[in-house]
C-alpha cells in the first residue's frame, strides 16, 4: 500500500452505471504519515472511544458458533470462511480482550491475546469495507443477539483513525470536506440543476425559503444520476400543497462520514441538515430515497446534535405512506406486478418496513414478496460504501447474483426500491450481467401516477 497526503479532489465518473470516484490508477489505501505503532494505537483508541455497555456486552458474548456466516451474502456466494461476519472483527475482538475487557490485565500479563499489528489491520481492511455492507442481516441471525453490524461500524472508526480506509471512501469524504459534496453535487451544481430541472420539467422548485414547514433533501446520487427523483419530489410536494423548500445550506443527505468511519465528517454533514431545518423553522425534514442517510439522521442525528431534534425526520417513503393514509395522495393504478427490494438501512435496521408497501398498495400494484423478504431480504451488495469501491467490484457482482435470482423467482414485472444507492447497484449489476430487468424508484413511480385533479 502507498501512503498519501492531501491531494486534489479525485476525479469523478458520471458516464458509468454507478456514480463514483473514477477508477484510480494507483490506489491509496493507507492515508497520512505515521508509524505503524501509532496507526494501531489510534485504531484501537478510536474503536474503544465510544465503547459503551452494549458494545462491551456484545464483545463478551460471542461463542464462535459461526452461524452468522449463513446470513452474510458475501459468505453465501463465495463460501469463503473469511467472510464470516464475526471474523471481520477479529483484530478488534483481540484488542478488546487485551486492552479493554474486564480481564485485560490477565490477558496482557500472560500475553494470551497478542498485540494487533498494522499488517493485520491492513489485511482486515478488505473484510471491514469491501465485504461488509453493514446490512445487519447477521445481526438477525446471531443466537447471542450480537448486533455485529454496529460493531463493524465501530471498527470503521478505528480504521479511519489509523488512516486505513479504502481509497475511494477516503477520496469521497475528502471531496465532501473540500467541496461540500462527496460526488460533485456542490451547492452551485445543485442550484444550477434545480434551475435546469424546473425549466425543463415545468415544475416549481422553491429554494432557500426563509420559512417552510417541510425541508426536503436529496442524495448526491439522485442529484447527479437520477435527477428525475428531484423532479418527482418537487411534483409531489407541490401536488400536496405542502409549504416546502430545498435549501442550499442543507440539501445533501449523503453521509460518507458514516460509511468511512469518519465521525467528525459525519457530524459536520449531519449538522448542515439540522442547521438548515432549524434556520427555516421546518416541522419536518424529509430524507430522500437513501438508506444510510436515514440511519445517519433519523437514528443518529439527535445524538450528534446533543438533544432531541426540534423537527420530525421522515424517509420519503414514510412521508408518502402517511399522505396515502391521510387520504391526501390518490394515485393511478399501475396495473402491474411488482416486487419490492428492501433497502437494509430503511427496512431491516430502520424499521420503516410497511411504509413502502402501503404506497405500492395505493398504486394498485400486485406485490409479490421476495423470499426471504422484508427484514431478512438479501442486501443488494452495494451498501456501506461498497458500491463506490472499485476494488470490491468482483465480489459485489457475485453477491448480486443472489438478488437477480430472488427477483426472477417472484416473476414480477417490475422491481421497485426506495434507495438510490441500491438502485445504482442494480443499474451497475444489470449492465455487468446484461440483465434485462431494471430497478425502479418508488418515489418516481408515485410522481408519475399522481391523480392531478384530486389535489
Amino acid at each position: 500500500m502507498t501512503t498519501t497526503h492531501t491531494r486534489k479532489p479525485e476525479p469523478l465518473e458520471f458516464d458509468k452505471p454507478r456514480v463514483s470516484i473514477a477508477k484510480p490508477e494507483y490506489r491509496f489505501d493507507m492515508q497520512g504519515e505515521m508509524h505503524d505503532a501509532e496507526r494501531v494505537e489510534r485504531a484501537m483508541k478510536s474503536f474503544v472511544k465510544d465503547f459503551g455497555r452494549t458494545a462491551a456486552i456484545y464483545m463478551e458474548s460471542c461463542i464462535h458458533c459461526g452461524m452468522c456466516a449463513e446470513a452474510c451474502h458475501f459468505y453465501e456466494t463465495t463460501k469463503d470462511p473469511k467472510y464470516t461476519p464475526i471474523w471481520k472483527l477479529e483484530p478488534f475482538k483481540q484488542a478488546y480482550k487485551r486492552e479493554y475487557g474486564p480481564f485485560a490485565v490477565v490477558f496482557r500479563a500472560l500475553n494470551l491475546k497478542p498485540r494487533v499489528t498494522v499488517e493485520e489491520l491492513q489485511r482486515w481492511q478488505e473484510l471491514i469495507y469491501d465485504s461488509c455492507t453493514v446490512c445487519g442481516r447477521c445481526s438477525l441471525m446471531c443466537p447471542m443477539g450480537i448486533d455485529i453490524a454496529t460493531l463493524v461500524s465501530q471498527a470503521r472508526h478505528g480504521m479511519f483513525a489509523a488512516g486505513l480506509i479504502p481509497h475511494e471512501l477516503w477520496a469521497v469524504t475528502e471531496r465532501a470536506r473540500l467541496e461540500g459534496s462527496p460526488l460533485g453535487a456542490t451547492p452551485k451544481v445543485f442550484a444550477d440543476r434545480l434551475e435546469w430541472l424546473a425549466d425543463d420539467h415545468e415544475v416549481e422548485i422553491p429554494i432557500d425559503k426563509d420559512q417552510a414547514d417541510v425541508l426536503c433533501t436529496m442524495s448526491s446520487i439522485e442529484i447527479m444520476k437520477y435527477p428525475d427523483s428531484v423532479v418527482a419530489t418537487a411534483r409531489i410536494m407541490n401536488h400536496l400543497g405542502v409549504d416546502w423548500t430545498f435549501r442550499l445550506d442543507g440539501y445533501e443527505a449523503t453521509n460518507f462520514g458514516l460509511l468511512a468511519g469518519n465521525s467528525a465528517a459525519q457530524k459536520q454533514l449531519t449538522m448542515k441538515l439540522i442547521d438548515a431545518a432549524v434556520a427555516c423553522g421546518a416541522k419536518t425534514l424529509i430524507l430522500p430515497e437513501c438508506g444510510h442517510a436515514y440511519t445517519a439522521l433519523r437514528w443518529m442525528g439527535a445524538n450528534m446534535y446533543g438533544e432531541p431534534l426540534p423537527f420530525k425526520v421522515m424517509h420519503i417513503a414514510e412521508f408518502l405512506a402517511e399522505q396515502v393514509h391521510d387520504g391526501n395522495l390518490r394515485l393511478k393504478r399501475l396495473g402491474k406486478s411488482v416486487t419490492f427490494h428492501d433497502p437494509c438501512q430503511v427496512i431491516r435496521r430502520g424499521g420503516a418496513i410497511e411504509a413502502p408497501r402501503e404506497v405500492l398498495k395505493a398504486l394498485g400494484a400486485e406485490l409479490r414478496e421476495m423470499y426471504p423478504g422484508k427484514g431478512t431480504n438479501w442486501c443488494c451488495g452495494g451498501g456501506g460504501g461498497v458500491v463506490a469501491n472499485h476494488r470490491a467490484d468482483g465480489l459485489r457482482y457475485k453477491t448480486f447474483k443472489l438478488k437477480m435470482e430472488q427477483i426472477e423467482k417472484t416473476g414480477a414485472e417490475m422491481p421497485v426500491t426506495t434507495c438510490a444507492n441500491c438502485r445504482q447497484t442494480f443499474d451497475d449489476g444489470q449492465a455487468h450481467f446484461k440483465w434485462d430487468t431494471k430497478m425502479h424508484s418508488l418515489l418516481e413511480l408515485v410522481a408519475d401516477n399522481l391523480i392531478e385533479d384530486e389535489a
Binding site: 465503547f51 452494549t54 456486552i57 456484545y58 458474548s61 460471542c62 464462535h64 443477539g145 445524538n303 422484508k374
Partner: protein
Amino acid sequence: MSLLEFARGPALQWSITIFIVGVLWRLLGVFLLRSKKDLSEPRNRAAWKGLRLIGLRSWPRREFLEGTAFGEVMGYAFHVGFLVSLFFFTPHVLFFADVAKGLLGTDLTGLIGIGWPTLPNGIITFLSAVSIAALVAVLVHRIVSPVKRLISNFDDYFSWFVTVAPLATGMAAFAHLGGYPYERLLAFHLVSVELLLVWFPFGKLMHAFTIFAARGSTGMIFERRGASL
C-alpha cells in the same frame, strides 16, 4: 490428604470462590460502563417490549434454519442433557443441599418451600450420554467446518473440554467404570467440575449470563426503531 478430601475441601472452596468473584468481576466490568442515552425520537416508545428477543432468538427464523439446523439441534441436545443432569440427578441435589446448608445454614427445601425434584437415574444416564454425543459432534463440526475452524481459538476447545469432562467423569463414577475405586472416580468428577468453575468466568462459558444481556439490549434498541428482531 486424599484426592477426594482435597476435591471436597479446599479445591471446592477455592473454585467456588473464583467462580463467584470472577463472574461478578466480569459482569460488573461490563455493566458499570456508561450507556449513552439515545436522543432520537423512538418509533416505538415501549422499547422494553424488545426484551422478547431473549425468547425469540432461542430458535432461528425460518429463513436461517437450513444452514443452522445442525448447530441448533446439537446445541440444544448438549445444553439440555448437561443442565438436566446437573440439576435433577439425585446425588447432585443432595450435594447442593449440603453446600446450601453449609453456606446458608438451612436446607434447600426450607429455602424454596418445596422439595427439589429429581429424575430417575436411567433418564439422567441417557441424557448425559446424549449430551456427550452432541458435544463430540459439535467438536468434530468445529474441526471440519472451515468457518468454525477459522474462528475458533483456545477458549473454544478448552471450554469444550471443561464442559465434557464433568459429564464423562460423572458417568464413569456412576457406572464404576474401569474397576477404579468409586472414591477416586468421584474425586476425578469433583475436580473436573472445579476446573469448569475456575475456567467459567474467563472464557466463553460466560455466555450463560451475557446471552440475556446481549439479546435484551439488541431487542430494546431494535424495538425502539421498529427494526426487524
